[in-house]
């Protein structure tokens, strides 16, 4: 090292090397492959969800390529550019820059709302189409970014539907439930959902007796369950992530607290095959308003089998990202080009219907698919069954739960 580090050259070289080595190539074909960024937090606090999302994306790419790739582009295969958002907006943004330079035609990601806010914006600079796979915060599609598209519903829609359906269920059962206790996690998704519910529930005639906010992570739920015993609400509404949800419900089971219903909105473990498998008793009867697939569509179950064969759980991250990738493939077909503006245009006018999500007709307004909707599920007979709406009903709801 006889010359001092020339910072400029080093950085330039490192950047070039990094970009060249950046993306593990998976697959490849004769017509130039279409490069698609697959960006998720696969390390850090959100690692589990990020990895599930990535799995969904890769399965979709596998299926698309096996079926002949993008026909209108001469059978071009999709080549994934894998990125790790490291559970922070800053890392996500850096990956977007890399994907842009590696020639990505579009990006699918980035699971978490806070990260999506940053990545969609970074992509917008290059008019790089960015499909948001999960990210439920409404702000994501309210900033007027032309490149941002979200196929699944945001939390406002989920909360509204949950409320309407709660009222329907309650009324049909003779209005046994009057009081509610909301338990939510302290950050964006939990607080936003809880605020909305607390505001709207009284309008439907329910009394919100208590709103409990808890930390991420919460090490012990005994006190919250203690409050629950004291407050004795008819309905408990949890809005939190998997670990806390599971711990809460297990503690309720342990302390023998059995409300008339556990009614979740975007509940972390409420419609989770993992939770049902590991804690069947605690999970029994839990109702959730969450992302779900069309139970009448065989393809949804085919995918479930494939995912479970890999020893993974079939969670919403998998099927939402899978579908987001297929939405992109459909847009590529219609755009007949890998030009970003053409893809954005194709997405804007998309009527994508070849999917197994229980959505109305696809129509993007300001980047949000207005046909998107959550479904109500209930854990019955050690399985998760859709109860509302009727078009997708697999089993009659049990409301209220018998003690």
């Amino acid at each position: 090292m006889s010359t001092p580090l020339n910072r400029r050259r080093f950085v330039a070289q490192a950047g070039a090397t990094a970009t060249a080595l950046a993306f593990p190539l998976v697959g490849g074909a004769q017509p130039k492959p279409v490069r698609v960024g697959v960006l998720h937090p696969v390390t850090g606090a959100l690692a589990y969800s990020g990895q599930q999302c990535r799995e969904g994306a890769l399965l979709a790419i596998e299926d698309i390529n096996k079926a002949g790739g993008i026909r209108s582009l001469g059978g071009a295969k999709i080549e994934p550019l894998l990125g790790d958002a490291q559970s922070t907006p800053a890392a996500g943004t850096a990956e977007v820059e890399k994907m842009n330079e590696a020639g990505a035609s579009a990006i699918v990601g980035a699971y978490a709302s806070a990260i999506c806010l940053a990545t969609t914006q970074a992509a917008a600079k290059y008019n790089l189409p960015h499909i948001v796979d999960v990210g439920v915060a409404d702000q994501i599609v309210e900033r007027g970014l032309k490149n941002t598209f979200r196929f699944s519903p945001g939390y406002t829609r989920c909360a509204q539907i949950a409320l309407a359906n709660l009222h329907v269920l309650n009324t049909a059962a003779g209005k046994p439930a009057k009081t509610v206790m909301i338990i939510h996690e302290e950050s964006l998704f939990g607080t936003g959902t809880a605020n909305l519910l607390a505001r709207e529930l009284p309008g439907y005639g329910y009394e919100v007796k208590e709103v409990v906010k808890h930390a991420n992570p919460t090490r012990d739920f005994n006190n919250i369950v203690l409050r629950m015993k004291a407050v004795n609400p008819d309905i408990v509404i949890p809005a939190n992530y998997y670990n806390e949800y599971a711990l809460l419900v297990r503690t309720m089971q342990q302390q023998k607290v059995t409300p008339k219903a556990i009614y979740s909105v975007l509940g972390g473990a409420a419609s989770s095959y993992k939770f049902v498998k590991e804690f069947p008793q605690a999970a029994n009867g839990i109702i959730d308003c969450n992302h779900w697939f069309n139970p009448k569509d065989k393809r949804a179950f085919d995918l479930k089998k494939r995912v479970e064969a890999k020893n993974l759980f079939y969670s919403y991250e998998v099927f939402l990202t899978y579908t987001a990738m297929r939405l992109l493939a459909d847009a590529l077909e219609r755009a007949k080009s890998t030009d970003r503006a053409a893809i954005v245009n194709a997405l804007e006018t998309s009527t994508f219907s070849d999917h197994f999500l229980p959505y109305g007709p696809t129509k993007f307004v300001n980047g949000q698919n207005t046909g998107a909707q959550p479904l109500m599920t209930q854990v019955l007979g050690n399985d998760i069954k859709v109860i509302v709406p009727r078009d997708y009903r697999q089993a009659d709801p049990i409301f209220p739960l018998k003690a």
Binding site: R8, V11, A18, L82, D84, A94, E101, K125, S187, G190
Partner: protein, 338 residues
């Protein structure tokens, strides 16, 4: 340990600024510009920590306190105060400096030093994080979002170069502040306090006011970093603002680069960002491997460069100097061995 003349420091700063500006002006790669921006942002935080920890000898584990205060001030001034972000920026810096002065005064007044001081700063940051999760004017758990309105007048640059320029300006400010510290009487007092607080007091230095000045300055720089973050990412929440992430980033970069030096923080931040980027690029498939390597390299750096990377450079130079001296001393013998 006498610092070289201020003129030399200023010259180095000018060269550095020119080099970075040249890179930013000519670079066409978004990746490079983004890297430069994030590395400079990291430098700013490392410089802040270095002022208090390197020159002042007070190790803080809670620098996020100043980061978050600056960030929230920047966001709130725009959202609720309707201020233009250019005006909000100095406000944010002042707010963070005041936080430094207040909590510094509290800690130093009660004589907290060493690990105790480190832990109390950590606790202060945590308290702020918890409170901001519940208080409506910080948006509680939902956080604050500054609307996207690109334009230089709005301190939201459509072109990354604008942010690189802003970050560079802030880093240069930090460098100038550090240079001033190295050559001023205040700086001498601060280093005296760092080396031996009692002895310093004995020769008439007021440790309390000296440390207070250092933490105020340190807070100001960190607050600038927080405000910068808000302008770039437009979203802040209690975890991002007051979580341990920025505290750790600031102290690791400062220590790895070389404590108590002018260029240590710059070198440290650059090295760590480079490391993070390379590991992320090279090991994308298996999640986790990149961070394992990052952590391992961190340990190795500490093992082989105990005085930081800058110290490594100095050690190497000393080694050559000694080798040359040995060689020179060996000269007269050459005639004997033909």
């Amino acid at each position: 340990m006498n610092a070289p003349s201020p003129k030399r420091d200023l010259l180095q700063i000018a060269l550095f600024a020119l080099a970075v500006a040249a890179v930013a002006a000519t670079a066409r790669s978004g990746v490079l510009l983004n890297f430069a921006m994030m590395a400079l942002y990291g430098c700013l935080m490392a410089q802040s920590w270095n002022l208090l920890g390197g020159y002042g000898g007070q190790f803080s584990f809670g620098h996020a306190l100043f980061f978050g205060t600056g960030a929230y001030a920047q966001a709130i001034a725009q959202l609720q105060g309707g201020l233009n972000p250019w005006l909000a920026l100095p406000l944010a810096i002042v707010a963070a400096a005041l936080a430094g002065l207040f909590f510094g005064a509290l800690s130093f007044r009660y004589g907290l030093k060493g690990s105790y001081f480190a832990l109390v700063t950590l606790a202060f940051a945590e308290v702020f994080r918890i409170v901001s999760l519940s208080v409506p004017f910080t948006g509680a758990g939902v956080g604050l979002m500054v609307p996207l309105r690109e334009g230089a007048a709005n301190l939201q640059f459509a072109d990354r170069r604008g942010f690189v320029a802003l970050a560079l300006a802030l880093v240069v400010l930090g460098l100038l502040a550090t240079t001033w510290l190295r050559h001023s009487r205040f700086g001498a007092w601060l280093q005296a306090v760092r080396d031996n607080e009692d002895a310093a007091r004995a020769v008439g230095v007021d440790p309390f006011r000296t440390k207070l000045g250092a933490i105020g300055l340190s807070g100001a720089l960190m607050g600038a970093a927080g405000a910068f973050y808000v302008q770039v990412f437009q979203y802040i929440d209690p975890g991002i603002a007051y979580g341990p992430h920025t505290s750790v980033e600031a102290l690791v970069a400062a220590i790895v680069g070389g404590l108590g030096t002018l260029w240590g923080p710059v070198l440290g931040a650059l090295a760590l960002h480079l490391l993070a980027d390379l590991t992320r690029s090279l090991f994308g498939t298996l999640p986790g491997i990149n961070m394992v390597i990052y952590g391992a390299v961190l340990i190795l750096i500490v093992m082989f460069a105990p005085r930081g990377l800058l110290g490594l450079g100095q050690s190497v130079r000393q080694l050559w100097a000694r080798q040359r001296a040995d060689a020179a001393a060996a000269q007269p013998r050459e005639g004997l061995h033909g």
